[in-house]
Symmetry: C2
Subunit: 342 residues, 2 copies
Amino acid sequence: MATVKDIAKLAGVSTATVSRALANPEKVTDSTKKKVEQAAAQLGYAPNAIARSLRTQESKTIVVIIPDIGNHFFSDIIKGIELIAHKKGYQVLVGDADRDIVRARKYIDLVYSKQADGVLSLTSEIPIEQIIDEQGQTKFPLVVACENYPGSNIPSVHIDQEFSASSVIESLIQMGHYKIACIRGADRNPISESRLKGVQTCMAKWQLRMPDEYIGVGDYTLLSGYEVAEQLLNLEDRPTAIFCFNDEMAIGVIRRATEMGIKIPEQLSIVGFDNIPFSEYCTPQLTTVHQPRQLIGESAMKLLLSILSGKKPNPEITLPAQLIFRGTTMPPPIEQRLKIDI
Amino acid sequence: MATVKDIAKLAGVSTATVSRALANPEKVTDSTKKKVEQAAAQLGYAPNAIARSLRTQESKTIVVIIPDIGNHFFSDIIKGIELIAHKKGYQVLVGDADRDIVRARKYIDLVYSKQADGVLSLTSEIPIEQIIDEQGQTKFPLVVACENYPGSNIPSVHIDQEFSASSVIESLIQMGHYKIACIRGADRNPISESRLKGVQTCMAKWQLRMPDEYIGVGDYTLLSGYEVAEQLLNLEDRPTAIFCFNDEMAIGVIRRATEMGIKIPEQLSIVGFDNIPFSEYCTPQLTTVHQPRQLIGESAMKLLLSILSGKKPNPEITLPAQLIFRGTTMPPPIEQRLKIDI
DNA sequence: CTGAAAGCGCTTACAG
DNA sequence: CTGAAAGCGCTTACAG
């Protein structure tokens, strides 16, 4: 492989000049610029990015940690991240943590080993002691998207989870539902906690309560939705609506309900979350909460970029979400409808 | 950040010894090993991988190029790749080419800029002149998975596309279908070509022919399946079966057919390809060809690893696929059934 | 077993 | 505008 040295020899200049001609052509006369470019082309020169990184102390690479590469929700976010990153000359390294904090740690290590300049985490399942110092500050450029660490000041971009969840419940209640169940994510997952809080706040507002056996726990996969649906739908006092904390689980519920001969939406309303592409293609089409995925990715990357450039930007960005009504929701059978005193 | 120099000073040894103690502890006395380890721990040392790469001339990183991060099919393959790669101390950089050869080129550049040691491409849409020299040899460690460059000797692992496609058609014909349409991928896509060849070979074997208007062209997305279905299903002589070259398109077809009031599978049989998780969760459940995705990923990574270690392995691995019958296929209405002369 | 020294391929502050 | 020189942080062949 050709190096700056080879080019220098061929062009009859110093390596310093080669470097300048290639990186800052304006610092060099037109004629040397031309000589160098020609020599570089002739030798098929490709700069050694590793050597450059070592010298400049930056890798121009950021790593994005995703909890599960099999989850559709993250694709568009990554597209948004890449759009901005590439525009600014940054590479994107996608690391699948597989919901394992040990694997997440490995990806964060890339910053410590200087292979990446910053981290964009799409999960909050990252080792807190690796990222926060004694003063509660982040130890390196980090942005958390979609999720957030409540109570910390880690920069983050997300929708208003609590409000969105609360809106879902509000609209179900407006339809007349009151036997409302939900399928949440694992305990201690901040998103799940926020959404559940929104759910309960709204129920309380209407002087309703969601009994414990109506709160199913899934892991955001199709299969877990399918399995938890089984429990919920076999309950003595079966819910008339199920709010799932993502679309995958909702689609699992549709499948199980269909198999059990329960008519959707006549006998059971289902609401998902995320508005993944498949949500429009299942039968019936899924009512869900749309998250502006690409925008989240773009905003998160811009935020990280501004941190990387040494600025102290506003560390929290909240983006709008919207509830999309499709074919899995309608008022419950009349005898099961909430009677509202006026 | 602490460096070997700092550790050397603290431990009272040379940097050479520090390096040895950390990388090859057996080359060093137990007592110096202990001293060095202690010093390293005390300083919170993290090795600079960039400096190491520059010195050792290897990055221990491989890049995997995928055509579309939004496509479910690739998730498990990546999981398989990562499983093997991590076990062998390699990092995996996932690059989304977005079906754009210019972007694929950027990822391959990582090899030339020494940031990656090899490439695992899950698409054949890569610039041929960048990877093949005048003698028709690959210029750097490269494995193509799922797809293949017919006629080249680029190492690859894949299923037998032609045979799998031909089996699908065979079984449709056995059911009595003969008005069989398909939705293929773009022209010049090798997978698409191989499968189409399998389709046509099998049709010919039964002395049938697939008319041109029965061959729809999609781009492997839900939407394209939906749109092409519209054309196919509005044909004067409507097909009784549609074979889609991936599950996404098949699910798009299901959606459109359902909207048009066409009963599946009574009036229309549909077969997909890939067996993505959603194929089990749509209504009806999709008949499809299962590809051993994780195994493909693992095999491809092992093949790349063996190339990286300087071996000349068998450059072509063919893995078994299997046809999975679910709810979208059955014999066509009796009056549309193929009459076989015995 | 250990150390001094060279070198991987760049970039950049400094001097001219 | 250009060049000589230093240095980023490692590893390793060589000498002892």
